[in-house]
Amino acid sequence: MINIPDFANASAVQIIFCVLAFITLLTAFLTIYSRNPIHSAIYLVICFFSIAGHYFLLNAQFLAIVHIIVYSGAIMILFLFTIMLMNLNEKKEVHRPRITRLGAIVSFVLISLILIAIFINSKPIVGEYTSTGEDYQSIKVLGKVLLNEYMVPFEFASVLLLVAMIGSVLLSKKEKLEK
């Protein structure tokens, strides 16, 4: 099922995909592997950028932009701030028992195998990707869908963000010890 890409005759898009995918996987791995949390965060930012690149590749420009803003911009900054706030570095990393590592690797292998096996077993994918030519992912269309069909969840999402904001403020406020 897995088609080995024919690099010799690869089109530009294919090459871009391969590069992006490689970057995504590598940085994701490095995020986990790196001992220094700061490095991890930075690798993660790169990973997010590459995913945004995938979005561009898939012609989802709006989502790609939002992704960069939210993830690389907001979330990762939050991570970095927190890491710095806690002053984490390599030395604070505790020793991991071998059994943990072994368990992690085993389950990694297991879940990969299972997921891949599922997709291999699932119905073959249609070879031809027809296109109706309809516009479905421009900002205009997305806005209409979001504010018509998904208006209520959209509003809820805003409420959620508000609540999250209040919650995080409350949580990170220094507790006044009342006796």
Binding site: L25, P37, L58, L63, Y71, I75, L115, T130, L171
Partner: protein, 106 residues
């Protein structure tokens, strides 16, 4: 209209996101640092989002992207609250190694 998937194929996206997801799982299990675990979770979320977008293109339907949009909102909220919790844990315990957090021991 020229569809990008004609050149790349949806299965490649599937494999990409599966592997990405598994890396996330691996991170969650492998690392003891709560912040890294958090990051791994973000990786898993992104893996799923990527698949959403890929299938959105595949089905020529905007809804997949809308869902990614919502999941981003949730992820943002989650990170905000989660990190706030981590901060307060760090303040109280002095460490964010998850091995030390055993208050739930039965």
């Amino acid at each position: 209209m020229n569809n990008i998937l004609n050149q790349i194929g949806i299965e490649n996206y599937i494999f990409l996101s599966v592997i990405l997801f598994c890396i996330g799982v691996f991170g969650v299990l492998y690392r003891r640092n709560a912040i890294i675990v958090f990051m791994s979770i973000e990786i898993m979320l992104n893996a799923v989002s990527l698949l959403f977008v890929a299938f959105s293109t595949y089905h020529q339907d905007a809804e997949g992207q809308v869902f990614v949009f919502f999941s981003m909102a949730v992820a943002a909220a989650e990170v905000a609250v989660g990190l706030a919790i981590l901060v307060s844990i760090f303040r109280n315990v002095g460490s964010i190694t998850i091995d030390n957090l055993k208050n739930l021991k039965g």
